[in-house]
């Protein structure tokens, strides 16, 4: 049994310690917002926060997550109101939407570490998140808007 803390809830997981966290989160816990894209840390669709870092859950073993703080897209905010989520909605960023939970999770780390990111900061932070619909320009716009919203809120998440 491995103890997991996902979105501030405790779970006891009976699974192989080598199982990817993505499988645990989706198939055992039932949180399907995090997506499977490539399975080899190349696309970013499966980004979750592990102790606040944007890790690729498809290559992260369950054992690495034991006892650590894991946040998925479902737990990023109380009411889908993280500045990045609000901005994504405002700018109608997604097309097919498949990659965007990963995009938003990466953007959230960027906004925490660089509350006023430049275009270069956005490129540096988001280069590991691929969007087959090519929504990159809207992603950039939304991150700038999220930075503004975050400033207005007077705090970072």
């Amino acid at each position: 049994m491995i103890n997991l803390n996902v979105n501030h809830k405790k779970y006891r997981i009976d699974a192989d310690p080598d199982m990817p966290l993505l499988w645990v989160i989706r198939d055992i816990i039932g949180l399907t917002g995090t997506k499977y894209g490539c399975g080899v840390a190349q696309c970013g669709a499966c980004v979750i926060h592990l102790n606040g870092e944007a890790v690729r859950s498809c290559v992260t073993k369950l054992s690495r997550g034991a006892g650590q703080e894991i946040i998925t897209i479902e737990g990023l905010s109380a009411n889908n109101n993280h500045p990045a989520q609000v901005a994504w909605n405002e700018e109608s960023v997604p097309q097919c939407g498949y990659c965007h939970s990963g995009q938003i999770m990466s953007a959230a780390v960027l906004l925490r570490e660089k509350p006023n990111p430049t275009d270069q900061d956005i490129d540096d932070a988001m280069a590991g998140n691929i969007c087959r619909c090519g929504t990159y320009l809207r992603i950039r716009k939304a991150i700038h808007l999220a930075a503004e919203l975050q400033k207005k809120e007077g705090g970072t998440t």
Binding site: V40, A41, Q42, V47, E53, A54, V55, R56, V59, T60, K61, R64, M105, S106, A107, V109, L110, E113, K114, D121, D124, A125, M126, A127, G128, N129
Partner: protein
């Protein structure tokens, strides 16, 4: 009669047991300390004795250079701030950046993809608990260096991460250095075994760490 102390009453077993116990404890502690010291000595490489021999030194460095310029070493000692990747040492896809500590930046930290161990599968992210590039203030570039430039850099504490001779010798057994010989599926190994590399490395250092002419 009541004031007479009988012989067996003088024995005072609790005090004797206490003293003997203390003695045994100290004997045990000393034995552990000596044993522990021996263990530590076994783990540390012997102190380097320098016997200058420029011919042997330069010859040994030829082997060292081959390893350090192989993709498994050079890929994490790039000229720029983006690591290299693959046996052809192309720029790492997604262009992750070094960052101040060499551990990546923002949502692109090395450990976000590189796990404590290799990920199973062909060309999947290799792993190590301490995966990183050299830090921004001590880039320790290998890429593009001639044998002479690299040899001089390796022994200059201002350029080699403040390592003295002893630390340089020990660095051959660094966990991330050794990870080069456990690169994960789909990647070539350095051109010689770690044992051969270590031997050449120590030979180069202990014969005076001479730099080749070019």
């Amino acid at each position: 009669m009541n004031n007479l102390v009988k012989p067996w009453q003088r024995f005072m077993p609790s005090r004797t047991v206490l003293i003997m116990g203390l003695l045994l404890y100290f004997v045990g502690l000393m034995a552990f300390a000596m044993n522990h010291k021996t263990e530590l000595k076994k783990e540390l490489p012997p102190h380097v004795v320098i016997r200058k021999d420029s011919v042997a030194s330069v010859k040994a460095f030829t082997a060292v250079y081959k390893v350090l310029m192989s993709p498994r070493c050079m890929n994490c000692h790039p000229q720029g701030d983006i690591p290299l990747q693959g046996d052809d040492s192309h720029l790492h896809t997604m262009f992750p950046k070094r960052g101040l500590e060499g551990k990546g930046v923002l949502a692109m930290k090395c450990a976000n993809c590189h796990q404590p161990t290799n990920t199973p599968g062909l060309n999947t992210p290799p792993g190590n608990p301490n995966w990183h590039l050299p830090p921004a203030d001590m880039k320790m570039v290998f890429q593009g260096k001639t044998p002479r430039q690299l040899a001089k850099q390796l022994v200059d504490p201002q350029l080699n991460g403040h390592k003295d001779m002893q630390k340089l010798v020990e660095h051959a057994d660094d966990g991330l250095v050794k990870a080069g010989w456990n690169p994960g599926e789909g990647r070539s190994l350095p051109p010689m075994s770690h044992a051969e590399f270590k031997k050449a490395w120590i030979t180069w250092l202990s014969t005076g760490a001479y730099a080749p002419k070019k």
